[in-house]
């Protein structure tokens, strides 16, 4: 039986096992929306802005490990989605974005709502396709999912002209797909892995630095197993939090610009650095000239282009993180050897000294609400089990520093692109993927206003998100930099004319709370998780305006040149 392109589209999603599509209708995708109307296998989630569709799909992907799926119309639908696509691209998140396109006969004519979606998304996708023939539609969709979810994952855009969705053909969804030009490496080179294991065993001051790649490749368990067995200290990048239990003694906290003293000092002074699924981002390395001056470096990554891009490495291993870690563990056990105990004990003694600096300490006696205290309290009230999304800025760093993630997939933030407005829609996606879990969005009064319209989506789908707004009436991170590096000239960083968030939340049909005193923080959170468990609660915490994120590595400095409190 012949199906229309629109029907084929739905069947493909069904066969791909897609449960949710986040999207927004428009002229070019009307045939598809008609096909959506006629079925009940794939649920469409209607957002209020296309940017939110991509962030929601992204949050869904990050919290579930499954690809996020987006459907938007041509022209402004596609351009609104770009920020979310670029966000997913920078953090290697598997996502398939379908954009409607004007009919093939009108492409290039400056038709109504026409934009060159393939051209405009090219620099921020893993790959993209324009479907010009309905008989190629199913195969293209299969390819899109295959490319998005394998190798180093990333967003893939499929641009579908309107006439293609009306034309008919036989439906056949390929079970498997082979592409001669795309064969990602999965297994690491065994000799390289052996060399790495030997180097690890001979280390006197080892340090493990793991990133988002471990989470993406489901490598948290083999990583934890191996590090526990070796007894090595470990730090996670902002993207890698949760890959190793944050409450474990071997965990030194996050590293980098706002990383802990002990993590950065251990990085700077180690003799063997084991980088796993991380990409030596500038926010991690600080001044590259001063980075890990005494270390031999082992780097495991699925993307060969990530290796030796910023930092020269001694033992590169291209391969899936999980596979390589498992293989390392096997070789380690076969060798029957363990790291030199005495050297390791001395190294730990040094690390404990750094740790005793207690670099994350803050004023707990203050009469103002300290933002760190809010995050700590959220951690305590949710017992560390919540899925936490964040926006971008100071609150993001405090969330990363003070919410101790013991499990992967629970920390969801825009690390690479640093997209304000990400938190709320990403939380929606995370809640769809984890309907029974608590999903909290840690945000600020600046970021939350960038996608605030999604409160309406949350009402429509009954998403009981817990919004933790650290409201300091400032674009906090901008203010912090202006204080440190621009002699306190707070250019445009003051948030004037803020809305009454309590009334705003209520206007959208949710619960709003304004919390002004430290002693009210925990009761408010408890009420939000208890009495209002099934409602969206917007908690507007009025926090200390002058609080800064510490430690901080200023631009151009090395990891050992932190500003402490």
């Amino acid at each position: 039986m012949e199906l229309t392109g629109a029907e084929i589209f739905i069947r493909c999603l069904e066969d791909e096992g897609v449960k949710y599509v986040f999207g927004y209708p428009g002229g070019a995708v009307l045939h598809i929306y008609d096909a959506i109307y006629k079925q009940d296998k794939v649920e469409h989630v209607l957002v209020r802005h296309e940017q939110a569709a991509t962030h929601a799909a992204d949050g869904y992907a990050r919290s579930s490990g499954k690809p996020g799926v987006v459907l938007v119309t041509s022209g402004p639908g596609a351009t609104n989605a770009i920020t979310g696509i670029a966000t997913a691209y920078m953090d290697s998140i598997p996502m398939v974005v379908f954009t409607g396109q004007v009919p093939t006969s009108l492409i290039g004519n400056d038709a109504f709502q026409e934009v060159d979606s393939v051209g405009i998304t090219r620099p921020c996708v893993k790959h993209n396709f324009l479907v010009k023939d309905v008989t190629k539609l199913a195969e293209t969709i299969k390819k899109a999912f295959y490319v998005a979810t394998t190798g180093r994952p990333g967003p893939v855009v499929v641009d579908i002209p309107k006439d293609i969705t009306a034309e008919k053909t036989e439906y056949h969804y390929p079970k498997r797909i082979k592409m001669r030009s795309y064969n990602p490496v999965v297994k690491g080179n065994k000799r390289q892995i052996q060399k790495a294991v030997d180097m690890m065993l001979s280390a006197k001051r080892p340090m493990v630095y793991s990133g988002g790649g471990v989470i993406l490749d489901r490598g948290a368990k083999p990583l934890t197993d191996m590090i526990r067995q070796l007894g090595f200290p470990i730090t996670n990048t902002l993207m890698g939090l949760g890959a190793y239990p944050a409450t474990d003694k071997q965990f030194l906290g996050m590293l980098g610009m706002h990383g802990t003293y002990e993590a950065n000092m251990a990085m700077h002074n180690c003799d063997v650095l084991i980088a796993i699924g991380a990409r030596f981002d500038d926010r991690v390395t600080g001044n590259i000239e001063k980075f890990c001056p005494t270390a031999k470096i082992i780097h495991v990554d699925i993307d060969p282009a990530s290796i030796a891009k910023n930092v020269k490495v001694d033992i590169p291993i291209v391969g899936g993180v999980s596979n390589v870690l498992k293989e390392m563990l096997v070789l380690l056990n076969e060798s029957g050897k363990s790291p030199e105990k005495k050297a390791l004990a001395e190294w730990w003694k040094q690390i404990e000294e750094w740790r005793s600096v207690d670099c994350l300490k803050y004023d707990t006696e203050s009469e103002l609400i300290k933002p760190q205290y809010v995050v700590e309290s959220l951690y305590n009230v949710t017992k560390g089990n919540a899925f936490v999304t964040s926006d971008v800025g100071q609150h993001q760093m405090w969330a990363a520093q003070f919410y101790k993630f013991d499990k992967p997939y629970r920390w969801i933030n825009s690390g690479g692109l640093g997209t304000m407005g990400f938190g709320l829609p990403a939380a929606m996606g995370a809640q769809f993927a984890n309907p029974k879990d608590t999903v909290a969005c840690i945000t600020g009064e600046g970021s939350i206003q960038m996608c605030i319209q999604e409160l309406s989506t949350c009402l429509q789908y009954g998403l009981p998100l817990k919004i933790v707004c650290l409201n300091n009436r400032f674009l906090g991170m901008v203010r912090q930099w202006q204080e440190f590096f621009y002699q306190g000239r707070y250019s445009m960083s003051y948030m004037d004319a803020l809305p009454d968030f309590v009334k705003l939340a209520e206007a959208y049909g949710h619960i709003g709370m304004r919390i002004e005193k430290p002693e009210d923080v925990v009761p408010a959170l408890e009420e939000a998780m208890g009495k209002y468990k099934n409602r969206l609660v917007f908690m507007d915490f009025v926090t200390d305006q002058t609080e800064n994120v510490y430690p901080m590595i200023p631009a151009g400095a090395g990891l050992n040149e932190m500003i402490l409190v």
């Binding site: 393939v118 051209g119 090219r122 620099p123 893993k126 790959h127 324009l130 490319v147 592409m179 001669r180 030009s181 795309y182 993307d303 060969p304 282009a305 030796a308 891009k309």
Partner: protein
């Protein structure tokens, strides 16, 4: 590369996005119409060339890539050049001699000019232009370099 619409712009886009230079670029379909062959000339330190190679390999449309400068190879570029050569002048005879020396072909003649076809390495084409003299040249068009490995080595699937 896959002979697909947009494949070329993916390569060009990569170079501009990452700040690499393209000195020349030639591309055309091969004997297998599903494939295009591209020769791209770029310059950079060893690290940069390594990064360019890796980034190009990441493009889904790139099927296979080799760095020809890693081994013995042949480079050829074709140039069409229109030069002043008025009938009966000494300049015309001089051009004739140069074309012979450089083993080019005169492929079009008018009473006032010649159009010459010349193939060789980039250096040879440069040398020809220099010998003719910039003032004598009306127009040049160069194909960009095409390259192939010497000997047994071949870039095929």
């Amino acid at each position: 590369m896959e002979n697909e619409a947009g494949a070329l712009s993916r390569v060009a886009g990569l170079f501009s996005a990452r700040g690499y230079n393209i000195e020349s670029l030639t591309v055309a379909p091969t004997e297998d119409p599903s494939l295009s062959r591209m020769t791209l000339v770029t310059r950079g330190s060893e690290e940069i060339i390594e990064q360019i190679t890796k980034q190009l390999n990441k493009l889904i449309d790139v099927v296979k890539l080799i760095d020809l400068t890693e081994g013995a190879h042949i480079e050829r570029e074709m140039m069409l050049v229109k030069v002043k050569a008025a009938t009966g002048t000494e300049a015309r005879s001089e051009i004739n001699r140069l074309v012979e020396i450089f083993r080019g072909n005169i492929i079009d003649v008018t009473p006032s000019n010649y159009t010459i076809e010349l193939t060789g390495t980039g250096d040879k084409l440069d040398a020809f232009i220099k010998s003719v003299g910039y003032d004598e040249i009306l127009e040049t068009v160069r194909s960009g370099v095409s390259g192939i490995a010497r000997g047994e080595k071949s870039l095929s699937l």
